[in-house]
């Protein structure tokens, strides 16, 4: 099954993924409502969205990290294997070995009662069955690779003895310990200082190129997304509303939500005292989604059909799609102009 995959095919292939959580009162919350993603080897995709847009849930579905009460729909194929149908034993071998993950807050992602080096070595021993000494050597190499100063000493540190930036480097070392093919990053720079953020981003990009990793990067910061990603997928209300190459999304945002996100950035041109641009309203309640387009209630271009129908992804250009009826309308009026 996994040998007939060719190198050019997608390493991550998500089709019509839905994730439902049941809440206490017998209600279900659809956190992800039909997401398609595909990622080639060595490619970096940024999942952009605000809190509750389903970006982290999508990311965790790639490792099937959700509790057993979560129900999945659609398919998730990684490295030619169906993750959603994988038995538990295979899942444990797959996690960390094929796909690995780094977390938002590196201060919480290490167990405070064990030395950092031991935690990394333990993961290596678990997957590769080599001796603890060999694994420690591997950990040392990784620490050098993520450029932690005096790595021998740092391996013996407890997590609280490291700074935030160093812990995130150690986290990256842990994630790469078993040479995974896909790296998932859940807002890895949100908890860090601005100066450390850029160092970690540069390190991630460098490692990604050297190791040919496929990276999915979840963020709410469009600046970070542009910095690291080849492609961006903008999520809203559990759906991908726009996806395309970085440059295309920035130059030609086609979904009103993406336009709003770009407009609400504070640039250098911001004048003191001028009001910041915001998107009015609040993100939808996932347990009580409005019918039709999820962004409808906040959209300044909202039409009647937006309230009843959910727009599909329309082709806007080279590998660039957006889910908005405006695009269909514009295309229709353009073709009318041409025919007239």
């Amino acid at each position: 099954m996994n040998s007939n995959m060719t190198d050019t095919g997608p390493i991550v292939d998500v089709r019509k993924l839905t994730v439902d959580f049941s809440t206490g009162g017998g209600k279900t919350v659809r956190a992800v409502a039909g997401v398609d993603l595909s990622l080639k080897k060595g490619e970096t995709l940024a999942l952009l969205g605000e809190s509750g847009s389903g970006k982290s849930v999508t990311l965790r579905a790639l490792m099937r990290l959700h509790p057993d009460s979560a129900r999945f729909g659609g398919s998730v194929n990684v490295d030619g294997r169906d993750i959603l149908a994988m038995p538990y034993g295979d899942l444990a071998r797959y996690r960390g070995k094929v796909v690995s993950m780094i977390f938002q807050d590196p201060g919480l992602a290490f167990d405070p009662v064990y030395r950092v080096g031991d935690q990394i070595a333990e993961a290596v021993v678990r997957h590769e069955g080599i001796s603890m000494q060999e694994a420690k050597k591997r950990a040392l190499g990784l620490f050098e690779r993520v450029r932690i100063p005096s790595p021998e000493r740092r391996l013996d540190n407890y997590p609280h003895e490291m700074s935030g930036g160093m812990r995130q480097r150690a986290m990256i070392a842990l994630a790469l310990a078993c040479r995974p093919k896909v790296l998932l990053a859940d807002e890895p720079t949100t908890a860090l200082d601005a100066t450390v953020q850029i160092q970690v981003l540069l390190l991630l990009r460098e490692l990604q190129r050297e190791l040919g990793l496929a990276v999915i990067f979840v963020t709410h910061d469009i600046g970070v997304a542009v910095e690291v990603a080849d492609r961006i997928a903008v999520m809203y209300g559990g759906r991908i509303v726009e996806t395309g190459k970085c440059a295309d999304i920035i130059r030609n945002p086609s979904h009103p939500y993406t336009q709003g996100l770009l407009a609400s950035r504070t640039g250098h041109e911001a004048v003191k005292g001028s009001r910041l641009v915001t998107i009015p309203g609040a993100p939808p309640d996932l347990s009580n989604m409005p019918p039709g387009c999820p962004f409808g209630p906040r959209c300044k271009y909202v039409m009647d059909r937006c309230k009843t129908q959910t727009p599909p992804l329309y082709d806007v250009g080279a590998d660039h799609f957006a889910a908005c009826f405006l695009i269909e309308q514009q295309a229709a009026s353009q073709s009318q102009l041409q025919s007239a």
Partner: protein
Amino acid sequence: MAAIADAAIVVPAKASKGYWASVGSRLIKDKVAMVALTIILLIVLAAILAPYIAPADPFRGSMIRRLRPIGTPGYPLGADELGRDMLTRLIYGGRLSIFMGVVPVLAAFVVGSGIGIFAGYVGGWVNTLLMRIIDVFFAFPSVLLAIALSGALGAGILNSIVSLTIVFIPQIARVAESVTTQIRTRDYVEAARVSGAGAFTIVRVHVLGNVLGPIFVYSTGLISVSMILASGLSFLGLGVKPPEPEWGLMLNTLRTAIYTQPLVAALPGLMIFMTSISFNLFSDGLRSAMEVKQ
């Protein structure tokens, strides 16, 4: 020679101590905890070495030397209602009293943390079911529960231990459950899962590693409660049987002498108080020494 050469190339970066080493160094600086620990060790040592250090036979009485005051020649701490040497009986009494303090807590520690960690890690309806059963035990005050269980099982040391164990299991299980529930949702547990650890590894390494400390501290605090409850059971005639020396039982048999020799009658109570407060203060010191920086 080699050692000197090695020392020369050591990078002057901060070496990190092991977890237990740093707990130990913090504990040594805590004067109150150290005093408490010294008292505990002295009492335990005296109890263990009782046959060698006790001046008399704990069972031999004298009808003509009953209820002597403290300082009577030959009876440094007086004599009890049967003319037995109080100092000897207090030293011997520590054996059973401390045994009754430690063993039920130890048994409850094993069973209670097992139940609590299981309930906390599995979660869901299993957790609810187990914890509601545990809650039923909390409906009774622990003294009442211990008396009821001991009464039902019958008097005796073993039955006292069993009933005290049952009293402490719910308390320890509840602490274990709440700590495990917190740990279970921590990022480092998810990080372990992400790197391919199974449920067993996560419980063994990450849950136990982080949960046992707080449960251990809580349990050391229970030792004093257990001693007092065991003394109470003996006092009521449900625990140790006379003429066996045990502080609670001695308090009971001497209560008729409260007006004639109040100081002598209070001595077993003083021992219970000193031992239990020492365990409590030591447990407090241990808790602050073991607090892990995040």
